[in-house]
Amino acid sequence: MTTAEPNTEQPYAVELEGIEKRFPGVIANHDVSLKVRKGTIHAIVGENGAGKSTLMNTLYGMHQPEAGTIHVNGQQVHFKSPAEAIAVGIGMVHQHFMLADNLTVLENVILGAEPARRGVIRHAEGTAKVAALAKQIGAHVDLDAPLSALGVGQRQRVEILKVLYRGANILILDEPTAVLVPQEVDELFETLKVLVAGGATVIFISHKLDEVLAVSDEITVIRQGTTVGTVTPDSITRSRLGEMMVGSELPKPIPRVTKIGAAVRLEVNGASAKVVGPGSQKYVFQDIDIDVHEGEIVGVAGVEGNGQFELCEGILGLMPLTAGTIVLDGNDVTHETVRHRKDAGIGYIPFDRHREALMLSSPLWENTMLGRESQPKFNIGPLINVRGSQADCREIIHDFDVRTPGEDVPAFALSGGNQQKLIVGRELVNNPSVLIAAHPTRGVDIGAQNAIWARLRTARDAGMGVLLLSADLEELIALSDVIVVMFDGMITARLTPAQATPELLGLYMTGTRQEAAA
């Protein structure tokens, strides 16, 4: 450790020097240097897994670096916990909100730091303080509304208020735009600009280059755990920034050369399903009509929670339909079991790989066998053919470039991107007629994303139909032959990728615009 040296120039809000952090399963930070000027928006960009979040967690005191120094406002600090970081004015808005649904906005904001006298919360004082903060950042939220009534964008605003309420003047936002639609992103950026104008400093983590270029004062690029440089937006182009991030040029979208076939792989006809709650029945999706042709990718856009997940469950047979039919390659499978449908040719890359796709402490070869274990090559009579299964897994590891020391390691030991490649491999190696791909590249790095996209295109060109559900509009526009938008359980628009701009999709996704489904 070096000793703190008095900074003769204007001190930086945050100065990290030579940070090194080793962490199992994640690329370590090594030799990271970062200088963030006071009163600026400083973006940190890098691929998923490049070490951005690790670095920010170090700054926020979630863990301690093995080497390197941290200065905040010119003073050297050693945080042992986030509480110490908060004490010097650092606040973090996490990617996954840490809010309680059953409390009001006000209660969420003051939770853990309530103004109280003798154990009794002083609501008026809290309300006044939070309202003043909300006004200051131009946030229009009803402080007494229950959090459960708020949308994602507003929840994020609450998170920011919560951090400000604790006296933060250095805000770290971890991928704040990942959960927002374009209009909400604009609002967020307005808020950030207001904050910075008021003297706060914002550190903003992202991997979306357009946003970063639009909003930041300075940009630091992290690649494979280390900082590769700091630039200003007006001195660099998007493609050059992308190169810095991935270490080579960004791949261009490949226009398709094959034609969509005439055969319909998957027909969803007037499908509806309800959840029966206590005393109420609510449609989770209603009157869904989708045809997926041979060699076609149908994109489904939508903010999460608008029935996409349930629709997948309905197609797979995990949720019964109350109306409508599911037809697979001309055969009505509406009343068949999940196993039957999967054997008949439905592949599924699920929303949440840990929950729906993997046995985390089982070896990879058992994971790649899951759902395929009735195929002859995995069996010797009633017993499992261990060698055959392992060989099959090795093939998937090789063909899909899964980075792992072997097929015998438990699935939890792999990084998210490699787990995802393994799942994509497992589902594609069966040559399904239809692949339902939900967020196929969520949380994976650009390298893995390109690999997965290439795989989907290849399979599509070979005649597979794909139903692609994604929140990543770039992904939808890049891959889809047609895009439908789901809002509140219904299809509210059908667009061609050429028509679909992120702004237009955003309008449909938030229900601001609706068009009768064609």
């Binding site: 999940v338 759902g371 009633p382 017993l383 939890f412």
Partner: protein, 366 residues
């Protein structure tokens, strides 16, 4: 990779041994507090363990524990907590003892085989009630099996006392009617070691094959491990719940057989082995649901109980062994948790390291 696997096994075994040692230390402290010399007690038990007669007794006591351990472990593998083993084997033992007296016309091996089949069916049927309640009505199997235990024990006592009491001559021992000789399980060593030990080893072997090696077992483990992923892959978790509980109950049916068919040759209310179902939970936990672990844990528990019979001679209550068993279970749960986390972390680190290494190699060649 092999080294890593070995290490995993080593850590698992070491943590179980550590749990046992820890339990001995705790009990030593308890003995000290009650003014007895732990070394004297342990020495007495150790010496006893050297005796051939005690060793046979230990195996005899271990035999029902192996069945019980397998029955519980089968449930655990499907993420089910079958606490109802106790009730399942009570019902199975009573029904088998009664059926055994009615089929004396069968030749010896067939007679025994039919008796075993009856025991399995009864155990499975009793467990099936809990399975039905869980699948159809969503009743937690822990609640259901605890209630079914109470019912089974009372039901067996009532049926026995009301309909099947039989007093042999002027004997004090009240039993059901004796089973004819053709329905007995023969001894391996006369009056010392019964043939059910072999049956227990076979059942443990079958447990290994079915759960760890078969396609069915894979589906069972997959459902137990992550039922959402299993369902998504087309495995019916309801079917797995029913099958796992039926199998567990069937294996539980064997527990009372050594006494019923190998020892007293009847169902008796007095001195009937009880509490084995609960000890089975301890065996499965200590053995980590692994077949070899189950055999070793059952033998250990058997040996503790058998050598404790000598403690009366030095005026130490035999119940000290139950304390040891209890502490073993608690410490095994704690130690497993800690060592499991440690091994997981190591595995993750190694995988990350290997991948990093691999990456740099690629970087050099590219």
């Amino acid at each position: 990779m092999d080294r890593q696997k070995l290490q995993r096994i080593g850590v698992t075994a070491a943590s179980s041994v550590a749990a046992v040692l820890f339990a001995l230390v705790i009990c030593g402290i308890i003995l000290l507090l009650t003014g007895r010399s732990p070394s004297h007690v342990y020495q007495t038990m150790w010496d006893a363990a050297g005796e051939r007669r005690i060793q046979y007794d230990a195996i005899q006591r271990a035999t029902p524990l192996m069945f019980a351990g397998c029955a519980v472990a089968l449930g655990f593998k499907m993420n089910l907590f079958n606490i109802g083993v106790e009730g399942q084997y009570r019902i199975a033992a009573l029904v088998t003892a009664i059926v055994g007296t009615r089929i004396g016309f069968l030749p010896a091996p067939l007679h025994v085989a039919v008796e075993l089949a009856v025991a399995c069916i009864c155990g499975a049927a009793w467990a099936g009630i809990a399975a039905f309640m869980k699948v159809r009505r969503g009743v937690n199997e822990v609640i259901a099996t605890i209630m079914l235990n109470a019912i089974a024990i009372s039901l067996a006592a009532w049926l026995f006392n009301t309909y099947f009491r039989y007093t042999q001559g002027n004997s004090q021992n009240v039993t059901t009617r004796p089973i004819p000789r053709s329905g007995w399980m023969p001894d391996i060593v006369k009056d010392q070691l019964n043939g059910f030990f072999i049956v227990a080893l076979l059942v443990v072997f079958a447990y290994w094959i079915v759960v760890f090696k078969s396609r069915f077992g894979f589906r069972l483990r997959a459902s137990g491990h992550n039922d959402v992923a299993a369902k998504t892959s087309g495995i019916s978790s309801k079917r797995m719940i029913v099958t796992a509980l039926l199998l567990s109950g069937a294996v539980a049916g064997f527990i009372g057989m050594q006494q019923t068919l190998g020892d007293s040759h009847a169902y008796s209310s007095q001195g009937f082995v009880d509490g084995i179902g609960f000890l089975g939970i301890a065996v499965a936990l200590l053995g980590r649901n692994h077949p070899i672990g189950i055999v070793l844990s059952a033998l250990l528990f058997g040996l503790l109980a058998a050598s404790a019979t000598k403690l009366g001679l030095i005026k130490v209550p035999q119940e000290i062994v139950q304390i040891i068993e209890g502490v073993i279970v608690l410490s095994v749960v704690i130690v497993n948790e800690a060592s499991g986390r440690w091994v997981d972390k190591r595995t993750q680190q190694r995988a990350a390291h290997a991948v990093e290494h691999h990456l740099t190699q690629q970087g050099v060649t590219a």
